[in-house]
Amino acid sequence: MNMMASDHWSALHRQLDALAEQLQRSDTQTPEQQADALAARSLQWAQSPGAACDATQEVLAFTLGDEIYALALPHIDAVIPLKQLTPLPGTPPFVRGIVNARGRVVSVLDLRVLFALPPRGLADRNHLVILRNTAMEFGLLADRILGVQMLAPNTLQTEQAGLSGLRRNLLQGISPQQWQVLDGDRLLNEPSLVVDDYD
């Protein structure tokens, strides 16, 4: 108890000392130094629009087995209920089949197979999150859709021990609430996901 109280006190003293030092310094700054500082600050603020966009992003969160995944909205074309999945012979195991999504044939991928996760948790795959850009389109299996949330990328933990290969490549990071935030761009551009059996 005493120990902690004294820790707090010493921290406060250090902060006060630092402030006093700063005040001292600002008094001794020449006008040029002040102008430089202001200019530097203006520059920093001038860059803020880009930084602000990065500051938060809207993500769709969904569950799959034991895990919760999140994906930035701009990459998502649609979320549809999954019915009538047609399995295909001869595809890699992560391709679960194809569905008819508004007249287009869209392939269905299973992240759990892709990330080689053990089959655990409730299997209740009843949604499809469709990712799309000009060159690529596929659907990701999802159990439950949790909704759209704001997420700040700078709060993501990007280095995580024990992640390997594809998974590390395709994850943007882990959010504070332990969501696995997927990198939509990399998912859509990952060459190993494309099936092209040309011989």
Binding site: T86, I98, N100, F138, V194, D197
Partner: protein
């Protein structure tokens, strides 16, 4: 200011490009009909109008030479139109020259002054014969020297014909006024149906509300009901009031139910009508759009000769391409998809087929190599395109050697006959050219061509005479929508196989299966065909059920056939092929997918891949071990007084591999049976002279024939008849109404 002028010019050029494309297409299709006879007045008018408008357009954008061509052409047409000059078939050459010049200008080619003069001369010649005096002054136009040809779009430098992407400019369609009206009419009908659907939605909503009222009333009476129940349980007299409101409720419910019944009936009828109307509308609409998308084949072919000349020059060879005079019209989507494969084939012919001039001279051929395209409509739904060249043909020895090197054939195989050897050129990795040139030769070209043909629901074959050339024949549907497939079932899944790849679909008894060390096979038409379960070829889990019959699809032809075993044949159907999506660019054994009428997606299998996979799938078929069947063909006597039934049974049993003889009635059968040995009798019951019961009874009484298995097939099906049939000694009793091939064959199989 100059920047604005440039921007204006650019916009002007863009709209000119589009307009010219349209007008040139019209001129082209009209001129085609002028070849044979004098043009109809309508056609003449149309051409005159187009040429005149084109002249105006070229002047607007400052294309002098095309303008002059148009002007000269217009002048000739004007004279014909006014009757000052008679139409001569020879004139068409000049008109064609003018058209070709304009088309090439439009395509952005830089044309020399010589080419311009040539076109002008040809046009001028049309006026020479009857009126030599009026030789137009245009011929000597001095501006020719200043070669200021078509300024192509500023950003597009002179791309050569061969390099341009596989689309052609001016992607416009000609829509006849009736077609436009037709489409507008469909739009109206669709809006009408939409209103009907909206109304239906409203009515079904009302029906649902009525149900809601029923339920609510029921809930409201919950108290009343429980009161009555307890009164009854305690043996009390129920309250009058409660009973009255119960009855009132009952009447109310009945009224409401009656209304609801009428409404639901009406709804069902309205839905049915809407379903029917929408069905016919969607079909009519598809038909009109398909018609709309028909384009003359020439629209794609016309730019090929120039490309051939250019490519030949690159390889130091000389070649010309001859095109057919044809008015054949083909779906634009097919033509679009055909262009790239056709370029591949032409490149291939120039690169590997046509020899250098020196070699040709040594072989006594003219230096100018000749490629020819022929078009021919082969049926209501298909056409063929043949491309012949008079080059060296395919070197069989080299091809076989190459096939052995790449592992397609076992090393040291005996020389294959042409029918088996030549198709190998379509395998990837095969090229008989030892050089990799810039044009072709990486050994992928023909494999890609075949792939493209199959995507379109067509096929390709090759034929070659050593030293004299090579012929590729492409079979293609006229329209995108005609794609027939066989549907089959494997376990819980359905698959479609392009019908053109399936030689036959048939059912054989299990006895037709021969199991050997090297793999299973079936005997058919004297050939032993390898048999592969489709499930195994596709690496699917084998279905648990044991087959009663072998449901087979034959792939390939002649001795190259393979029998594919499936669980069930579901018949054939017209489909539209869809790609598998962007992530699945190509999956082995799959061509695409299709949506069936019930909305389900079904994978469409890839015939060539299947064939290859079959050759790789060697494992034995996991079938239940059966006691060895006698190899001798079983003999069956079929007795029926109806010619049709007799024929049906005969066909059925013969297909299943039995030797069948027939008799018209019981007596004839009795006599036949005593003279010849049979293994089984299939007999009708009601017959003149001697019926089936009597015949069976007689057989059972005869010491030699008592053991003969008898299957009675009949229209009688009372329990007594059945009992009687079994009483007289029949082994099986089948009712004709259910004369399903399965039951008869199953019974016969069981008894033999």
């Amino acid at each position: 200011m100059p920047i604005d002028r440039a921007a204006l010019m650019q916009r002007l050029m863009a709209s000119f490009q589009e307009e010219a494309a349209e007008r040139l297409a019209i001129l082209e299709s009209e001129l085609l009909r002028w070849q044979a006879d004098a043009p109809e007045p309508d056609s003449l008018e149309a051409v005159f109008r187009e040429v005149h408008s084109l002249k105006g357009a070229t002047r607007a954008v400052g294309l002098h030479e095309p303008e002059q061509i148009c002007h000269a052409w217009e002048a000739v047409l004007q004279e014909i139109r006014q009757g000052k000059r008679a139409f001569l078939p020879a004139m068409v050459t000049g008109f064609q020259a003018a058209l070709q010049f304009l088309k090439r200008c439009h395509a952005g080619e830089a044309l020399s002054a010589g080419q311009f003069r040539q076109a002008m001369d040809l046009l001028a010649q049309t006026t020479v014969a009857p009126h030599p005096a009026s030789a137009s002054p245009i011929v000597a136009t001095p501006t020719v020297a200043a070669v200021e040809t078509t300024p192509p779009a500023p950003h597009a430098p002179a791309a050569t014909l061969a390099e341009r992407p596989a689309t052609w400019r001016g992607q416009t369609l000609r829509v006849r006024a009736e077609q436009g009206e037709q489409l507008a009419y469909y739009g109206e009908a669709l809006r009408q149906h939409r209103m009907t659907a909206h109304n239906l939605h409203r009515r079904s909503h009302g029906l649902q509300a009525d149900f809601q009222r029923l339920w609510q009333r029921r809930l409201r009476h919950e108290g009343l009901l429980s009161r009555l129940r307890s009164q009854l349980a305690q043996g009390q007299m129920p309250e009058q009031e409660a009973l009255r409101s119960l009855l009132e409720w009952q009447d109310w419910s009945l009224d409401l139910l009656a209304t609801m019944q009428v409404e639901s009936h009406g709804l069902r009828q309205a839905c049915q009508a809407l379903d029917r109307d929408m069905g016919s509308l969607s079909e009519a609409y598809t038909r009109t759009v398909d018609e709309l998308l028909l384009l003359p084949c020439r629209s794609m072919l016309d730019e090929l000769p120039a490309m051939v000349g250019e490519l030949a020059a690159q390889t130091g060879k000389q070649a010309e391409l001859l095109l057919p005079q044809t008015g054949l019209q083909v779906d634009k989507r097919i033509l679009d998809a055909l262009r790239t494969p056709l370029m591949h084939l032409l490149r291939n012919a120039l690169d590997h087929g046509i020899e250098p001039p020196a070699v040709r001279a040594a072989n006594g051929k003219p230096a100018l190599g000749r490629l020819q395209i022929l078009l021919h409509q082969t049926s209501a739904s298909h056409f063929s395109l043949t491309l012949t060249d008079d080059g060296g043909g395919i070197d069989r020895h080299k091809l076989q050697q190459k096939a052995e090197e790449t592992g397609l054939l076992a090393a040291g195989s005996p020389a294959l006959p042409d029918a088996q050897l030549l198709p190998l050129v379509f395998e990837s990795g095969i090229t008989t050219s030892s050089l990799l040139t810039t044009l072709s030769g990486r050994g992928e070209g023909l494999a890609i061509v075949r792939e493209a043909m199959e995507q379109l629901g067509g096929s390709i074959s090759v034929d070659s005479t050593p030293g004299q050339g090579c012929r590729f024949t492409l079979q293609l549907p006229l329209s995108r929508s005609t794609f027939r497939v066989m549907l089959v079932r494997l376990g819980e899944q359905r698959f479609a196989i392009p019908a053109h790849a399936v030689g036959r679909a048939l059912r054989l008894p299990l006895t037709a299966l021969h199991r050997q060390e090297s793999g299973d096979s079936v005997m058919l038409d004297g050939l032993s065909l390898p048999l592969r379960p489709l499930a195994q070829v596709l690496a699917l889990a084998p279905s648990g059920s044991e087959p009663v019959m072998l449901n087979l699809l034959l792939l390939g032809s002649g001795e190259q056939q393979i029998a594919l075993l499936v669980d069930e044949l579901l018949g054939d159907q017209e489909i539209t092929l869809k790609p598998l999506g962007r992530q699945l660019r190509r999956v082995r054994n799959l061509l695409g997918a299709t949506v069936l009428g019930d909305g389900s997606l079904v994978p469409v299998l890839h015939p060539q891949d299947l064939y290859r996979s079959c050759l790789q799938a060697h494992g034995p078929w996991q079938a239940r071990p059966r006691e060895e069947q006698p190899r001798r063909q079983a003999r069956i006597l079929v007795v029926d007084d109806s010619f049709t039934s007799r024929g049906l049974l005969r066909a059925l049993l013969e297909t299943a591999g039995y030797a069948v003889q027939t008799a018209n009635d019981g007596l004839e059968a009795w006599n036949t049976l005593r003279q010849h040995p049979f293994d089984l009798l299939v007999s009708d019951i009601e017959m003149p002279r001697m019926d089936g019961f009597t015949l069976t009874a007689r057989l059972r009484a005869d010491p030699n024939l008592a053991k003969l298995p008898v299957v009675l097939v009949t229209a009688l099906h009372t329990a007594e008849d059945k009992a009687r049939g079994l009483e007289v000694g029949a082994n099986a009793y089948l009712v004709k109404g259910g004369l399903e091939t399965d039951t008869v064959l199953a019974a016969v199989n069981r008894l033999l």
